[in-house]
Symmetry: D3
């Protein structure tokens, strides 16, 4: 039995609030159970040096956890003077996931930065960040279209992410912290609305896993992501 009493293939309650803050071109608070991530999209009319002069845009992400989003306080990265390896790994993942569904030429020479800040952590923050950041990115693209700065929607598809893992021998969907800290295998899956795989990152925490287990986990992930994309559509009124 899962600590949260959920069925193996049951997501945590998903709540999405758009326009959560007022300055950003896109601002989404996404909650997956007790996990809460604020995702904002900021449009800038220039691209980083390595992209200049190519007529294409760029989408990038940054990730952070508020110091007391966690069970015990985590030191503030700004005070330590550097971002941890985990933080960098996550923000690179979020950026890649979003670029996979973005037509950078349609964006023109501008950059959209997705800031994913964890207000409260209970497992699965990187997946929530991707699912929420897609919505913020979508709002920022709509803003660019509405204002006439671009004429073609750069977003080609939805993208969402979910974690799956083997907990006490059973493949389960959408791990919370209690499960994540005790699972044997942990996998993050990023998938498009058309069910194309964008990222599969599976790690054996204890014993190695088999191809059979991998397939069970991917099946679970797919059902979860289909639901998450439905939540994205609902949040957009589609």
């Amino acid at each position: 039995m899962r600590p949260s009493q959920r069925q193996p293939s049951q997501l945590r309650p998903v709540r999405i609030a758009r326009s959560f803050t007022c300055h950003a071109e896109g601002s989404v608070l996404i909650e997956m159970g007790a996990t809460r991530v604020l995702c904002t999209a900021s449009v800038e009319d220039s691209v980083p040096p390595f992209m200049r002069g190519r007529g294409r845009g760029w989408v990038t992400a940054e990730y952070g956890m508020l110091p007391r989003s966690t069970h015990t306080r985590t030191g503030r990265e700004a005070a330590k003077g550097k971002q941890s390896g985990r933080t960098q790994e996550i923000q690179r993942l979020v950026g890649r996931a979003l670029r996979a569904v973005t037509d950078l030429e349609a964006l023109g020479e501008r950059q959209i930065t997705l800031d994913c800040d964890v207000l409260q952590a209970d497992g699965g923050t990187r997946c929530a960040a991707i699912t929420g950041a897609w919505l913020a990115l979508n709002d920022a693209c709509a803003h660019l279209l509405d204002s006439g700065r671009i004429t073609l929607n750069p977003l080609r598809d939805h993208v969402a992410a979910v974690s799956v893992g083997i907990y006490r021998g059973v493949p389960v969907l959408d791990l919370d912290y209690a499960e994540d800290a005790n699972c044997e295998t942990d996998m993050n899956v990023v998938m498009t609305g058309k069910r194309g795989l964008v990222e599969v990152q599976g790690t054996a925490e204890g014993e190695p896993f088999s191809r059979g287990e991998l397939n069970q986990l991917l099946d679970l992930a797919e059902t979860g992501i289909v639901e998450l994309v439905a939540h994205q559509k609902l949040a957009l009124g589609l």
Copy 2:
């Protein structure tokens, strides 16, 4: 006329939510108009090296702004690898303000860290941080009392803060961003529930100010802080 149509001595609407997040011993979201600051209090059963072995506790604060809490995106301090002078100035101010009303001996050898993170900025974030952090600190102290780890409440009084300034020649209370960016004199005042001054930080942005103007500003600040302390009491159900 103020951009927000407020009277010179009128605070912005104040909203306070306690237990805003679930892990911290105190967690308060304070809103002053469009300014929103999340203040969490984290208790740790040890003190920094310079305080060890003296039987006294320590209260400290850290401050940060989410990158898109501002009108245009501000670079993430964790990514830059250092905290700005402004950030350090503010977190030192918040820490001093709270220690001014805390009995560090009653706290015993433990540290309470107040993290003040700005979710949305519209002027006056440091003052909102102080007013909100006092509530988070109060909840953390109550938590320590309830659990029997301390027997005497270390908090001796309320503390709250407000900005005042001269905008278009008129002394006004609780400046929002539109006023702050255009005012002649800007002052932050920190005061206890018993109306004792804890900090007065006045700066001439344009022309120097006179003793008379200083006194008008302090009068305004006092009325504002009396109201803010009432809000703190209301939030505590007192």
Copy 3:
């Protein structure tokens, strides 16, 4: 046709030299075609602070590229003052892969650090690092056993890694730089000698990939890793 004229399921020539340098408890130069990584294992009789007093050891890894291991010179990370996100991601991966086959209790309170330094890069450096570092770790464990500091071999199984990807529509094994820079999907697979999966990290560089493609890639990876484990055994004279 692959730029290297290899068959889709053909590894690059593998060369392994043990005792490549003289000071380390394990020192292995591994070459996968033109990719050359020097992996050394250093034993230290203490563990990092977060592991102390638990009677268990720790295995960790660090990764670096010599500035001109690459086609054009890459700035030296020591001179820049920080390790890139890519470097941190890789060294975390190498450490996890090795810990997955190590009995940390059998190691006792000591740490083994695997330094993986790329002398020449032509794609697949992180996978070569894992395959080579396992050999260096094995030599360091043998050294500890020989000297009587431990009595039980902490290594429970082999571990090796290989990259696979879809290049011009065809799934291929062990991508070199020319393929890696132009492939549609790129996956790194870490597997034990008993064919248990330890890590699967697949990324769509262009179009998303399907479950069918994922399975083809995993099949290829498995044949490659079986060969790499045979190379490890050969190098050990088994």
Copy 4:
């Protein structure tokens, strides 16, 4: 009685040496009793990026303490790799104070940097830095006028600063270290030659202070600053 036997409203002996070093456009050693600060003004024919193309200049300040300017050695900030929050707070204060009396348009697109380095510390270093830096800035402006690079003196007025505080219940002027370390309230006041207030920074170190005490302290500060401006004029031969 004050440790230095001074009257409550008595400044420490003030000594000012202009042209203390030979390279800078302005170079002033100011001594307030045992506190000695070397203030140099350096003119540069460009402004920082955020000021470019506006036809206006910039005045900024940096502050440092020699490691053994203090009673016990303070670690060198250059060796630690960062400036403390206190240092940044002080250099921001000095810069604001000087800009308050400078006509940045008259300066043209050039920057003057005031370096305030404490050779010996005995309390009140930030105030001495402001009073001395004004003289160095004045000499640098004279240098620009003499060489014909500007035609209008950018300095509109004097500016000077002094600390005041409540020591053993008595308001006193110009605290030395022995007083500063034991006072109840500490305030730094920056004022122009025309007695306009530029900065008021008051902090309760122990008990909060009252409006009455604040006024007494401001009265004291004003007498002190009037004297300091007279010293500035004397040093300029006015």
Copy 5:
């Protein structure tokens, strides 16, 4: 008797391999006994900002030790976030030595960076770096001449380096680690093919040394460098 049984004026066995790695314009592995340094030369078609627009080139060097090139593991500088004073001192020395024999005008506005990375250390790494880097620089210059990018060889002479010291009262040539750690005086000498002195860096580790001892050491160094230049010529097939 020397620990290595060598005669006082005997170099360690010298081995030089050109084209050790494939990407760099020059790539030399030099071995002096157990000391092994990989020296690569990278050509870049621009110069650092302080050299721009003068029609001249620049030659610079960077130095690093692989963490386990040493007897016990040395922390990775990239992980620590800074290069040690020793590292910076060595790379400055290598750069100066090479520039002393380079005609920077003949090089045109391009920079050659010599990366000297120690794979295995047994004393004398900075001297081996200079001797090997000269060869890598020579290969890079030949590469520029062959490709017609320059018409005149910028290298005016050979340059090589060797350490000498007083070990147990006897002046000896080319110290290995066992001698270096226990010698009374240690000197690094850099000399051209025409026997002109480029650098002399002598340090008394224990007792001061006399002019007579200095002269004996310089005599030894000269014989060593003549041999090293012969090795350079041999490696070039001259």
Copy 6:
């Protein structure tokens, strides 16, 4: 003819002031012409970790230049967040020079830090730092002897330093900035009171130098250091 009209073997005017600042155990302002360096000695009753428990002391040095000690302003190292290679090279040199004449066992487990801060630079700052720091160290040792904390003077001899160089073909003593910036060969020599060599650091800036030139420079250096030691004795009233 030298720019300063000095004879080739003529030192600049030497001025030495002891007890220049009041807090340090030794505090010496040394002037060599327009070069002015403040050297303070700070005693600490503990040694760095790598020296602990061996019953011996440590002497170390730090070096810095005030930003406007130079002709044009040099960026503050504390603001840049790191010390340059030059700074580190110099402070390592000063530390070695002083340790060469110090009996670390007589010092006991305590550390003396020599801070050498350049107030005004006109060439030869590292040599002035050594000559002045020896005096500060001597005063600190006298202070330890006077207070009975040590019973044996740890200083075994004087140490002083001077630069020599070949300027327009002529060997000259004690280069000032005008000479230093234009000389062909530049050498720093550190010598004890008994004329033992401690450091010889010669660099060809243009053409290589010969053994004959080296000997001429060392002769000049020796006459200079004999004079500087006499100045040290004079300053001590010996």
